[in-house]
Symmetry: C2
Subunit: 378 residues, 2 copies
C-alpha cells in the first residue's frame, strides 16, 4: 500500500505536539511592550512660512498649512506631519475633524502597524495627508522603540540614496539662466514645461550644464504628437524621464506615449495609492510616490515594492514640508530610482532637524526612527 | 510676472542648507552597528529523521537532508535552515558548494538585508533552499539585534495567524476515516486528490466533519472539464480553495479554470519566486509561498505584499523542516490568508523549540528574531 507522508505522520504528531495553553516555555519575553501601557495621540495645526511667494495662475500664497502629530508611548515620542497645500483639498479643518476620530489608546501594541493603519484608513475616505501624519508618527515611535533608523529596518543602505533634483520653473531665458547659477550642488536638473516655450526652456538649461535633466509638464501637454516630439527632443538632450506629460484621464494617449517614448513616463497626478498601480502599469513606465498622497510610509513602501515588482520605475516626491515628513521620505529613498525631496529647504520655520542635502542627495540622519530632532517648542 | 515657487525658493535655500561634510550634528548614534565588527557565517549538514516512511510512487524515504546555518555578530547568533527534499534537486552537496561561496565578512552592517541577499542571490542561479538558509539566519540575527520578533517588525498581530490545515492523503475510505480521527484539533482539512477516487475521498472526509475543507490535486487533474466539475463539487462541500489543479504549464486551461471557478485556485508548483507573480495573476487567484522556494523570508514578504496588492490570495506552505524554518515562516503567517505549516511535527529530531500549534494555528513564540531556542548541540 502506498502511504501518504503527511497523513500518517500527523496521526502521531498532532496529539503529541499540540499545546493547549499559551506559549510560556521561554524565560525571555519581548521588551518594551507592556499591555498596561497605551499610546497617546495628539495633534496641532501649524503654518509653514514659505521663503518666497508661491504663485500658480491667479493664486498666490506664502504659507502651507500643516498638522503636527505626536504619539507618546512609555515616555518615547514619535513625530508626524500632514502637509496640505490648499489645491489638494485638505486643510486644518478637515485634518482636525479626521484626526479627532483617531483613537490609539485601544491598541495594546504599538508595533501593530498593519492593524492600526488599516483601521485609520477605514475611518473615512480621502484625507491622505492626515492619515500620513499618523503613519509617520507611528513609524518614528516604532523606530525609536527598536532604536534604529528606518533605513536599517527596511534593510537598505543609505549609500543607495538617489540624487534629488533641482527644479527650474517656467520663465524667461534670463531668469532661467540666473536660477541655473544656484544649481551647482545638484546633480540633476528638473525643468518645468507645459507652456508655450518648452524648447526655449530646455535649450536655455542645456546651454548652461551637461548634467542629466528631467522634465515635468504637470499634465500641461494636450497633443500626443507634440508630446512625443518633445520627449524625443528631451531624450537627445539627456533627459532621464518625464513626469505626467498629459492629463491623467487620457488613458489611451498615455498608453501610446509610453509605448513610443524612448525614456520612462512617470505618473504623478495619475497615481495616488497602492491600488492605482496595477492599472497604471499599462499607461506609465513608473510612478512618483509622495507620502501625502500614499497615506504615509507604510503604503509608500508597499507601492515601491509593487511598482518595482511590476518592472516600473519609482520616484519619491514631496510637498512643502518640515524636516519631519521629508526625513520620513528619506528613509525610503534608498529603495527608489529618483528623488525630489527638497520640501524642507523651501520653508522659513522648520521645527525639526533631520535629513540633509549631502552631495546632491537628501540623506537621512543616523538617529533612530525617521531620524529627526525637534528644534523648538511648537 | 508669474513666479515659480520652487525655483525662487531654491535660489536662497540651496546654498544655506547644503552640508558638505557628513552628518555629525546629533550626539546620539545608532547602536549595535560597529564597523570593526563583522558577521561570521557557518553551516553544517544535518539529516531529519521522519516519524514515518514518506512514500511517493516507487520511492520511499525516511529522512530529509537539511543544512543548518549560523551567522554570528557581536556575540549574537542567528540560526537558519535549508530543507532539501530530494525531488526538488538540492542536496547536502549542492548546498555545501553554494554556501562555501557566501562571504558575509565583507559587509559592515548586518542590517543591509537588501544588498546582502541580492548579492547572495546573484552568486549562482537556483539553490533556493540554500539561499533561504542564509536569509533565515540573517533575519534571526537582525531580529535579535532589534530585540523583537519579526511579527513586530512586520507590524502584524499574532492574533491574525491563520489556521494551519490537517492533510488527508489519498487512500481507501477506511484509512481516511481512521486518519480523520486525528484531526480534531485542526480547523481545516486538506484533502489530497488527483487519483481515481476524488469524490470518494471528498465524501468520506465530509461524512466525518463539518469543518471547511481544501483540496490539493498536485497537478493531478488532466481534463479541465473534469476539474471544474470537481471544483464545483468541492465548493458545495465547503471548500475554501484548491491548490494546483492542473499541470503548471497548462496556461490557457488554468486561466479558463480561474475564470470559471467559484473558489480561489492557488499556484504551488506554478509559482516559485517574486518574478513569477505578475504573470501568474492571469491564471491563478492566489499563490502558495514556501520559504524554500522563495529563497527565504525577504522575498516571501515581498511576494505576500505583491500578491495582495494584485488582489491575489496568499497561502504559506513548508517542507519537512525543523522548528527553525517553520518558526521563520510563522513570523509571516499573520500576513497571509491560509497556512500549511506542520513541517516540524513530522520529524523525530528537531533541534529547536519555536512556533507551536495552538488552537489549530502555528503560532510564533514571543522570542526575538524568528523566535527559536536551540535545544541541543548539533
Amino acid at each position: 500500500m502506498k502511504i501518504n507522508r503527511k497523513d500518517f505522520l500527523k496521526q502521531s504528531a498532532a496529539s503529541s505536539l499540540l499545546l493547549t495553553s499559551p506559549i510560556s516555555f521561554f524565560e525571555k519575553t519581548i521588551p518594551k511592550v507592556d499591555s498596561s501601557k497605551r499610546m497617546r495621540f495628539s495633534f496641532k495645526p501649524y503654518t509653514l512660512e514659505l521663503k518666497y511667494v508661491f504663485t500658480v495662475s491667479t493664486l498666490s500664497r506664502t504659507t502651507t498649512p500643516v498638522m503636527l502629530t505626536e504619539i507618546e508611548y512609555d515616555g518615547i515620542v514619535g513625530y508626524g506631519e500632514a502637509s496640505m497645500p490648499p489645491y489638494l483639498g485638505e486643510s486644518h479643518e478637515s485634518a482636525t475633524k479626521f484626526l479627532s476620530k483617531v483613537d490609539l489608546s485601544k491598541y495594546e501594541n504599538p508595533f501593530e502597524l498593519e492593524t492600526i493603519l488599516s483601521d485609520i484608513d477605514s475611518i473615512e475616505k480621502g484625507n491622505p495627508a492626515a492619515k500620513a501624519s499618523v503613519d509617520i508618527a507611528l513609524h518614528d515611535l516604532i523606530g525609536k522603540l527598536l532604536n534604529q533608523p528606518w533605513y536599517n529596518i527596511y534593510g537598505v543602505n543609505v549609500k543607495n540614496t538617489p540624487f534629488t533634483v533641482f527644479t527650474i520653473g517656467i520663465d524667461k531665458p534670463e531668469v532661467v539662466r540666473k536660477k541655473m547659477l544656484e544649481s551647482t550642488d545638484f546633480k540633476i536638473i528638473k525643468i518645468k514645461l507645459g507652456k508655450d516655450n518648452d524648447k526655449e526652456m530646455i535649450d536655455t538649461v542645456c546651454s548652461m550644464t551637461d548634467k542629466p535633466i528631467t522634465a515635468d509638464p504637470n499634465q500641461g501637454w494636450t497633443d500626443r504628437n507634440y508630446a512625443i516630439d518633445m520627449i524625443n527632443y528631451l531624450k537627445e538632450k539627456g533627459a532621464l524621464y518625464v513626469e505626467q506629460p498629459l492629463s491623467k484621464d487620457r488613458f489611451d494617449d498615455l498608453a501610446w506615449l509610453k509605448e513610443n517614448s524612448p525614456i520612462p513616463i512617470l505618473a504623478d497626478e495619475g497615481v495616488q495609492r497602492l491600488s492605482d498601480i496595477p492599472k497604471a502599469k499599462n499607461i506609465y513606465s513608473g510612478i512618483n510616490i509622495k507620502l501625502m498622497k500614499s497615506t504615509g510610509m507604510r503604503e509608500a513602501y508597499k507601492m515601491i515594492l509593487l511598482a518595482k515588482s511590476l518592472g516600473m520605475k519609482v520616484m519619491l516626491g514631496c510637498m512643502t514640508e518640515t524636516s519631519c515628513a521629508i526625513s520620513a521620505a528619506s528613509q525610503l529613498s534608498p529603495l527608489v530610482d529618483w528623488a525630489d525631496l527638497d520640501g524642507a529647504t523651501l520653508i522659513k520655520n522648520d521645527l525639526f532637524e533631520g535629513a540633509k542635502i549631502i552631495n546632491g542627495k537628501v540623506t537621512p540622519s543616523n538617529l533612530p526612527g525617521i531620524g529627526i530632532k525637534k528644534l523648538q517648542k511648537s
